[in-house]
Symmetry: D3
Subunit: 323 residues, 6 copies
């Protein structure tokens, strides 16, 4: 919650600086976490619960309607009434007043396990160096082994990623897991072959093998709709994902930056297919509880980027990236 709150501060500040020509919304990207920790530090979840006094307060939709209304009101003022003097100092305080009311009062200092901290000193005490965390992606329209921007709405912070060939992206993930590092994973989850309920995400060659019924508006484009198929139980032939196919999905806007998850394990099926074991925040009602398996092809097709500690990357790649 501390990261979410501070990311809102970052978002509205950027939005005003850019005269509204950027994304001010509820979503976020993997980059938000290192961005907040680097700029503000971090607070234990027990200390900043994000709620001052009652669970009914957590109506995110009401919250964002009020915050966004205030931000748009400020923007309108800037574009209309504002005279020579420019903006006052009060607007940030006012917007923080809204954050305080809905997400809990901001924390400057706190005591934790008998010690006093600021968010920054607490982050330091954990030994977190955000410069060690690297974002990696793979696209063909931008130079290999160079930094690039992932151009998706949620990248409001203009965070950079390293661009590597598709196979290398896959190998980095394998290498990290084998070296004991988990990998943060941003991916498109609104796909026919993605079924958290069934605990699996695949790219069947024949999409008609999956029946979708109902809707689940809470998540991305009905990613949680009820899907029935043997394809989730017995291996089906998957579409082999080339860099060209992947690029096309990005170019024609069918691959989007939906959601952040956590790759924690590796699994090789009898038929030789590689799967990643992924932890998701959508509850424990599926099997395996809170986890699901992602096929190599799904990973290659629908990954937006990964974020990991640079020590999880194989040396050959590190060298090419000058890390």
């Amino acid at each position: 919650m501390y990261v979410a709150r501070k990311a809102y501060e970052g978002k509205f500040e950027k939005y005003i600086r850019m005269d509204g020509k950027t994304n001010f919304s509820e979503g976020g990207a993997l980059h938000d976490i290192p961005w907040v920790i680097k700029k503000y530090g971090i607070v234990p979840a027990e200390i900043y619960t994000g709620l001052s006094y009652g669970k009914e307060k957590h109506n995110h939709s009401e919250f964002f309607s009020v915050l966004n209304g205030a931000v748009q009101g400020l923007l309108k003022f800037m574009q209309g009434d504002m005279r020579d003097g420019g903006l006052t100092d009060a607007w940030k305080e006012a917007l923080n007043g809204i954050l305080d009311a809905y997400l809990g009062t901001d924390i400057k200092e706190f005591e934790f396990k008998g010690k006093k901290y600021t968010p920054k000193s607490y982050a330091a005490s954990l030994g977190l160096n955000m410069d060690d965390y690297i974002s990696i992606t793979s696209f063909t329209h931008t130079e290999m082994y160079k930094k690039c921007f992932i151009e998706v709405q949620d990248n409001w912070a203009w965070g950079e990623s390293y661009n590597v060939p598709l196979n290398e992206l896959f190998e980095i993930t394998i290498n990290a897991l084998k070296s004991g590092y988990t990998v943060a994973w941003a991916a498109d989850v609104s796909e026919t072959g993605f079924s958290f309920d069934n605990g699996i995400a695949i790219v069947p060659e024949d999409l008609s093998t999956i029946q979708i019924s109902g809707k689940n508006n809470k998540n991305f484009s009905d990613a949680g709709a009820e899907k029935k198929s043997n394809a989730f139980l017995t291996p089906v032939k998957e579409l082999e994902i080339t860099p060209e196919l992947r690029q096309k999905g990005y170019d024609n806007k069918t691959t989007t930056d939906d959601h952040g998850m956590h790759i924690v394990g590796l699994y090789k099926a009898q038929n030789g297919t590689n799967y990643f074991l992924v932890k998701n925040s959508w509850g424990m009602i599926n099997f395996p509880q809170g986890y699901f398996y992602v096929s190599e092809n799904y990973f290659k097709y629908k990954t937006m980027n990964i974020l990991l500690h640079k020590d999880g990357i194989q040396n050959s790649t590190k060298k090419k990236l000058n890390l």
Copy 2:
């Protein structure tokens, strides 16, 4: 400033209760003062200056853009996303966060001249009983000597007034001044014959005797535009105002509720015309400094309502009003 701040609280609360079907704006009416004092009490101006830390903060236009944006955002949420649970408790706190940032932190308790007060106990210590203050108007479309609503935008609080014949409205004002009571005066000031700079407000029979030049956007419909005329120096024939003329101005929307001022004196010119001496908040650059004279006809034509202590009203009228 305390009244203004609390009136904002009252306004946004009513606006939300009424689903936006009321006026939420920067303006106010005479009714706001007794309404706030009765509901919240009052605070000395030295204590609540309305500014926390710097004069540049007082950008009213920026302030209202942000506050109104947040209020409209909440309304939009109510009309769209709101589910069964209804609103949270947080929205008022959030809106008060905006008021705190722009107008200074709200005051619950304070010390003044060595004594501790709450706003309510302070109001009590002044012996203010708001029920003694009476609003009076005069219209022909509603019953005489009964309460009515003045239907103008700024009457967001749905304050009531007593309706009396036009001459009686004039006599009440005279009687009050003679009895030592001043009279709060809400009137239309965006009229050709109104010139604060020249210290006079009249209703010349021939409007072409006054030349208007320039604009003064800061006040009501250029009430402060430069106006030149001998009519302001030498008495001219004024239009005699009947109840029908007055009513017509209200019905066809040419008489509006512009501004609140303070009638403090009475003056009879050589030619027999009655004038009220009125104190205004528009500065001291005119003559007489901060004051101006209002002719009987102007008063009869353009008064929206008056607010005064009931003991200023003659007994004959009091009886008819059951006061």
Copy 3:
């Protein structure tokens, strides 16, 4: 229909006086009836059928689209083009032209059972004195035994109600019925426990005992959706309604002013629960035909206000209200 037609006249007049800062819509409140009778009188339904020449004319949605379009057009003119002269006299005539076309030509005089009447003389002949009809409600945020405004959209007429403690509101209703007076009832009907089809309105402690299916857009927020439950047949435990719970529903906007009905009887079930027998205008297809039962708890929770002849109120309350 005469009341409806004249209420439209009142609504658009107020809307224009208030510069659009009030509610101009199709809905109405209990206050509309005494308001119209007092101001315009009343006409027998046989005389003003509300239709000039053909049933297909009664398309309320088309009617209001045209009327509202004209009213908004006038408002836009006022906010833009209007010059010094203000509004003409023609606009009311024009809007009445729309009312005449859709609701039937206005009636100034008529003959009924051999006698000539105006609407006002006819109301007088019925001995109706609207000042005898009193609106009562119960809220904790405003003073007890004083008049207050019910702040809901449909109270466009700014009608006042007396505020009494919740139990007293209930007792007044009982007393009126026992004294031979029926009670007009404005209440929220878009509640899970409200089922006109099943002839009952309750507040089950466990809402999941009622299954809702389908929608019924014609009425308020699907108040007429199909609902199935044993709760409607066999008594279930109801939530006990306190003044705090009632107030919360009003504050968080889950209790709204949906609909006006007519309380005509009283019934005590074997288990001791009190029910009111209520007449509704939604047809005769339910059982008991056109009527339904409202539990004490539902009444306490979801009543907006009641309107009744003051002689139906017990003397102890009358005294406190100075009636």
Copy 4:
């Protein structure tokens, strides 16, 4: 006024039939006159003054705001709420109610100079045969001597014109005047060289010879702005207008259908330039009072179309047009 009123009826009927995909505005075209006379007849100005009871009623801007609001409301209903039954019969009656209120009650029968008429019988009594009146224009993008549509906003009635070469358009006008027929003239008047105040309209080769100051919003694009130039007093060299230049003005939207006037005479200046004497409805404050002179080049450049009795057209042209 009768023509104006009936043209409004025609305009809103067409606008609704076309689902709003046509022009509904205050303007009109020369075609409106024969269109109304043919469809509804005509009424003497003494009989239909266009005002029921008071000059203040004639606020055209208020009138059109209300009428247009109602029409747009109906359109919105058609695009949204309208179900299977379609529109009622009431909407035309409602819109006519607005016309009646602002323009005076419609006339079905009247007595004039001792005789009873309907508008149609009165038109017949005048011997007006609208089929004798012909509209003529000249454009190069459509076939010569064939009918075409003038594609300008005000041609809401889709009136047709005959297309002839530019010189022939000029000669027809000359011929008509010489044969004793006047010519209705629709032209663009928002041109630098057009000065009603100076009584002349020309196309100076060098536009900088004319100084424009001020604005005159009442007429078309400041056609009435103050213009000073010797060019209006002493002949200047004019741009010679070819069919190509004329066509370009129409194609690039600098020639528009501003205004209808009346060509009544012919005048040849000493330097050989031909001028038409034109009667205009903009008052008598210029010289020659109410009239002005239009040079041949202006006529050729900025004429939208002319409307005249077919007997005013020379035989050679009549033959080509099969008249």
Copy 5:
């Protein structure tokens, strides 16, 4: 496709000439075909396939969003920024650039079966004289045997039709078919009794004999929804269509100009009902494949107009129309 492309050129040109006061949309009318052939000629479908390089290009919705955006942008410029110079020549080229990208590059010359053609010379080689093709309709609000405009949205080209009595419209169609001419048919197809799937279009007296389920958004107002009824199998009593009924459907907007089809045959059922055999472009999955039968009553009720070679019209009618 060539007709569609050129009709877009005609539509945006007219839309700009008319300052947006006409219909710019994806739909078209029967008139478009002769209009394009006459103005531009025609190209064999093999030559102008309407696609430059890949089937995925044919996203009509994306195409029209881009084209319409550009057109509305131009209109906004005209209404705002445009100064004295008017429009440039570039806008048509720019809009054609969009047509080229989505519909294939425009064709000026081509070779077909060994010969070189322009679209116009190709049309000439086919012997097509568009003046021979006549549009006919039947309405009571406009003069018989005269030309009139069909006032429906899709008639953007202001195409004219001859107006004849309803029976004569029917007889013309019969006569044409018997004389070997097919008839283009524009009709309302969003009717309960219209079922392309069942191969029949009728006007049952009792509409409840047909059950509609589901929706088919691809076509007009769910014209393709699943409809089940014996009425489609066994003859049911049909509503007899009079000119008054037909006119009412047009007047109250329940008969609209949905779709163009092709009447190719005539069939008389055992019970004496006349049916037309109609070819439709909605695929071959129904029975009879791609065709359906239209009853005489449906034809009389829901025909907007027919377009046919004038030699298909009986002489008696030709004479009345001066053909």
Copy 6:
């Protein structure tokens, strides 16, 4: 022009990738030049004049209205209608069709001084290595000697700058000029003390010493308005600019990224003030023709960033920036 055209391609591509959450407008930043050269190469001005066939074509406002309309249309399609298949390939071709029509056909190959080039090969032939060009700025809210983003609207390309202390920014500029490198300069020019007409830009301590009259809408916020003052002739006391003052102007939105110019020389006045000589693209009508002088304080206050060859930077700074 080639840079402008290609920057449009880059802008609309980014705008679509970012779902409209970025700036798509006519403006640009210094970063655009190296961005285009690196991605597309460069073309001599003689070869790509940016005009295909006539000077009237260059109506930038019409052009951008059409282009922006098309882009917004595409965005609307993406947010609404777009189904599973995503975007087609045609949209870029369509938008390029608009660029071709208004800015001249794109160039893939050309011959220049007898040699054949592509834009990329031509850039290579000039020896331009864009990685040598460095953008530098100075703000206190972001880390020193690190890369940062200048958060202004026109930085649509998310170009990075190095952040250095304010004095160092000034010294780099001096050093570059002394080393023979000119410096591209992006600055706020809509300031009272900026007067291109008077050939000078200063920050007078007393702003009232400058009189502004008139407006000059063509440039940034009336940067070109007529300004009269002795301050432009005789040295006046300037406000001394600290990093805090500079930062405040950026934070309160009074310093914006108006315009790009070219610093070409250095000049020290008798009173010791340093001025830069700057070349501007606003014509030659001022003195010194096309140039003006910028005081050290103005430069420190209102510079957004500078762009220069890295060899123009002093070694001490280079080391800190790891260049």
